[in-house]
């Protein structure tokens, strides 16, 4: 296959970026999208030119490292698929592909397609956990959890923290990410003691970072490679409301 790439190049956070054009004329449909970028980089490096910086690690759709807008879609055109799991057979011979970094105020660009997503870590640090000391846990079966609650928690916990939801949102909101973590812990019996403080602390941190507000566009759910449902945002809003009206901390 012949493919024309238009890739965002940006030297560092302070420099201005631009789209750079590259022609690849020997792309196999069996390549993954990132392998296609490897081939491009390989040729850049052996010509002494700087390769395109992009983030990746597991290449199995689970670590959440890979992060790029492909033709305007977070992680590209295929639903529920991370960029690393996308394959070139999703494109046609002769296609032009535009590749850009996540664009959001809370994710400053570091270089080319690499952005800083530590704002998401800080939301978790603010309260995205159950405060149980190590060694103090009761026997695991002493806290029964009904199967559907466990399944709901797992649905929410499947979030890989890639930030596609933020990148896809016209406001750059981290509502789906935050809601998923809140829901994972707040639906479980183990998470009840901190249910209110957790949601308040996490939402507060989210507001302090440069994320935008949620105005129910639903783009986040469409872009999420793990299919996390916006129903969790409803749960977050309910819990937040209850927590705001309650006096206990």
């Amino acid at each position: 296959m012949k493919i024309t790439l238009h890739i965002w190049r940006q030297k560092d956070s302070k420099s201005k970026g631009f789209l750079e054009k590259h022609l690849l004329d020997n792309v196999s449909p069996h390549m993954s999208f990132l392998e296609m970028l490897d081939v491009l980089n390989e040729s850049l490096v052996s010509g002494g030119k700087e390769p395109v910086a992009f983030e990746h690690d597991c290449r199995e759709g689970i670590c959440g490292s890979c992060s790029m807008m492909i033709n305007g879609c977070a992680h590209g055109p295929q639903a529920k698929t991370t960029a690393c799991q996308l394959h070139m057979r999703s494109f046609k011979d002769g296609d032009s592909i535009y590749i850009e970094p996540w664009r959001a105020k809370a994710f400053p660009i570091i270089k080319d397609l690499v952005v800083d997503r530590n704002s998401l870590d800080r939301i978790v640090e603010a309260g995205g956990y159950i405060s149980v000391s190590i060694g103090a846990a009761p026997d695991a079966n002493s806290i029964p959890v009904s199967k559907n609650i466990a399944d709901t928690a797992m649905d929410a916990a499947a979030c890989i923290g890639c930030g596609a939801c933020v990148a896809a949102c016209p406001n750059g909101s981290a509502m789906l990410f935050t809601a998923a973590k809140v829901a994972h812990l707040n639906v479980l019996p183990q998470g009840q003691p901190e249910r209110k403080t957790r949601v308040k602390a996490m939402v507060k941190q989210m507001d302090e970072e440069l994320f935008g507000g949620c105005t129910n566009h639903g783009e986040c759910q469409e872009a999420c490679p793990k299919g996390i449902s916006i129903d969790f945002i409803g749960l977050l809003n309910r819990d937040y409301l209850k927590a705001s009206f309650s006096r206990d901390e």
């Binding site: 390549m31 990132l34 390769p51 309260g127 995205g128 026997d139 806290i143 499947a158 923290g161």
Partner: protein, 637 residues
């Protein structure tokens, strides 16, 4: 130096309790005066950092990814073992201990394995309390499955994402300590050396991967939780960034490397599709429960699989191992697939693949039943290969997956360098020559949550807090050395990328130090690798400079270490003239062609000492004793 494993006295069931009691404690008020460095935030590193923080120590944690949550542990699918016996099917601490020693082909330490089995119980309690969404029964209790050929159901799981959920649990516990300022997190920071002064580890040298700045961090103890080295083969199921750098640089500073040739090759991975292949994807082992493995009986038969009639198919595992059939252990399945492909019977474009066929189970159970069991795996397979496994058989091939070797540690998980500890896949301790499914996650969390928090206290109680000195000449020396190496790499200005050399190295190690090995092949590799290393240092290309984010520079540093380490793997393999665990030494087989272990000569841990560049490493042996599980030959016929 003599190797002292420091295994406590007493009966095996009491060793750990006695040891905990006899270990000196650090006074609670003093804990905040001690600094601990933890490199790595996978299951082992994140759980250790969180626990140290909770105990009151000051912790600095490092990882090269942009967030601690992305460590490679995230990718584990299958599950985690624990001897809870919730299914009342006869499991016990002793049985898990027994299975693990036997599974490791009698090349691990009994005392360590027993402790691991004991602690497995606490891990599940801890994780459930943290909110890890384990699979549940309708009644609300935890569900289990049997995994990797175990005869009891002791594996706990969270859909196909067990590693992810366990890591998120540890990451959350770590985040809580970061919030409390007990742990300072340094993401995008790569450790490039250990600082050793007078035989004691006092810190590390790191490079900030964004600014390129090289600096030192000092501490009273250093813990390496830096994962495994399967990427020495270039293609493996590991994440792209997994590497041996931390372990190798520690080795060059005096830490012994144990059993580097013990690697595990997983039988069911998606085969390579072309030169550009960057990594291999694991397909769950559970597929072998319902899939039948075969190749055509005729060499080079290019007909589509479905057009090859039954009598022209060679179901080689079923004929060779009638009692276990397609469920033979990982090493046996892998070796046989390679043997068939080497003999010219492989399938697919490259000839490096065998069929895993679900036709008969679909016929027997219906497509729906198969979809329920393996739906997500089938989808993943189709996404990667573009083929529908409900209609045509899957193609699979073995791939490097896990490394049992690692830094040598004693019972306290301390290396032979004072104050330098290694935990998780980075150490060698518990799996012998072969790891059982679902036991790496167990070991990572056992080490991090429950072992090292005690044993490090025993070490720290013996040293004064903060006595490490910034002006120690070892600090400056180590920093200078890292700066020099970095500049040297960047100034080669040759023509080839780091990946180019990595792929070449991978091919040599895969061919000669993979599933089956010979004296001749290993000698050839030991001859070829230094040549490749020479070529690397002459013809490497790293565009850009070292003062920015430079991913080629990161890769090059790791490949430089793999080139040296790969040679040690082969040297270790050469000295081990027996077939054992995950590997087959062709000279050491039974009359029927099965693996032959030689206990009289090789019942030891190989611990290698670095002797300097271009010098031969020195082999030290830790003899293994088996009081409880008597060594026997495995047979699956």
């Amino acid at each position: 130096m003599t190797l002292n494993s420091n295994i406590p006295d007493g009966p095996i069931e009491k060793k750990w309790d006695n040891h905990k009691f006899n270990t000196k404690l650090v006074n609670p008020a003093n804990k905040r005066k001690y600094n601990i460095i933890v490199v790595g935030t996978g299951l082992a590193g994140a759980s250790a950092s969180a626990t140290f923080g909770e105990l009151g120590y000051n912790v600095k944690a490092f990882c090269f990814q942009d967030s601690p949550r992305r460590a490679h542990s995230i990718a584990a699918q299958g599950g985690i073992n624990a001897a809870k016996n919730y299914q009342n099917d006869g499991d016990s601490v002793y049985r898990l201990f027994y299975d693990t020693v036997k599974g490791g082909d009698f090349r691990s330490r009994e005392a360590n394995v027993y402790r691991l089995a004991q602690i497995s119980l606490n891990i599940i309690d801890q994780c459930a309390a943290q909110g890890v969404p384990f699979a549940r029964e309708y009644g609300g209790t935890l569900a289990n499955r049997s995994f990797g050929g175990a005869q009891v159901s002791r594996t706990f799981y969270a859909r196909g994402q067990t590693g992810q959920q366990l890591l998120l649990g540890a990451y959350q516990a770590l985040s809580r300590q970061i919030h409390k300022k007990k742990v300072t997190m340094f993401p995008r920071t790569e450790m490039l050396d250990v600082i050793v002064s007078n035989g004691r580890a006092i810190g590390i040298v790191v490079r900030d991967l964004v600014t390129g700045e090289i600096s030192s961090h000092l501490a009273d103890a250093v813990v390496l939780a830096t994962g495994g080295y399967s990427n020495a083969y270039f293609l493996s199921t590991n994440a792209m960034g997994c590497n041996v750098t931390a372990g190798w640089r520690a080795h060059k500073k005096g830490a012994y490397f144990a059993n580097p040739c013990y690697t595990q090759i997983h039988p069911t991975c998606i085969p390579v599709s072309g030169e550009y292949q960057s990594k291999l994807t694991l397909m769950s082992e559970s597929l072998r429960n319902d899939g039948r493995i075969w190749v055509p009986k005729e060499k080079g038969d290019k007909r589509p699989a479905n057009e090859i009639p039954d009598e022209e198919r060679d179901y080689y595992l079923e004929t060779r191992y009638p009692s276990f059939g397609n469920l033979v252990p990982r090493d046996v399945a892998s070796r046989n697939a390679k043997e068939r492909c080497d003999a010219g019977y492989g399938v697919g474009e490259t000839g490096l693949g065998v069929y895993l066929d679900f036709r008969d189970s679909i016929k027997r159970l219906g497509e729906q039943a198969i979809r329920e069991r393996y739906g997500n795996l089938f989808e993943m397979y189709e996404r990667i290969t573009g083929e529908n496994p409900y209609k045509v058989p899957m193609r699979i091939f073995p791939a490097p997956h896990y490394t049992m070797g690692g830094l040598w540690v004693d019972y306290n998980l301390m290396t032979n360098v004072d104050g330098l500890f290694a935990i998780g896949e980075a150490n060698f301790s518990d799996h012998g020559a072969n790891r059982l499914g679902a036991s790496a996650l167990m070991q990572g969390l056992a080490d991090g949550y429950f072992v090292i928090p005690y044993t490090i206290g025993g070490y720290l109680a013996k040293v004064n807090p903060g006595e490490v000195d910034e002006n120690d000449s070892a600090v400056k020396e180590a920093v200078n050395q890292v700066e020099e190496t970095t500049e040297k790499l960047i100034s080669i200005k040759g023509k080839q990328s780091a990946d180019y050399f990595h792929k070449k190295l991978g091919r040599i190690i895969w061919n000669e130090c993979g599933m089956s090995r010979t004296k001749e092949g290993l000698e050839k590799a030991i001859n070829e690798i230094p040549k490749l290393k020479g070529e690397f240092w002459e013809n490497l290309s790293i565009p850009g400079n070292s003062k920015t984010l430079n991913q080629e520079l990161e890769k090059a540093g790791r490949v430089a270490d793999f080139l040296e380490f790969g040679e040690l793997m082969c040297i270790d393999a050469l000295t081990r003239e027996e077939s054992c665990g995950g590997h087959f030494r062709e000279e050491s087989q039974t009359e029927t062609g099965e693996a032959k272990r030689i206990d009289e000569r090789f019942s030891y841990v190989s611990a290698w000492e670095y002797k300097g560049e271009n010098e031969k490493p020195e082999l030290h042996k830790e003899e293994l004793e088996f009081e409880h599980v008597k060594p026997s030959q495995r047979s699956y016929k």
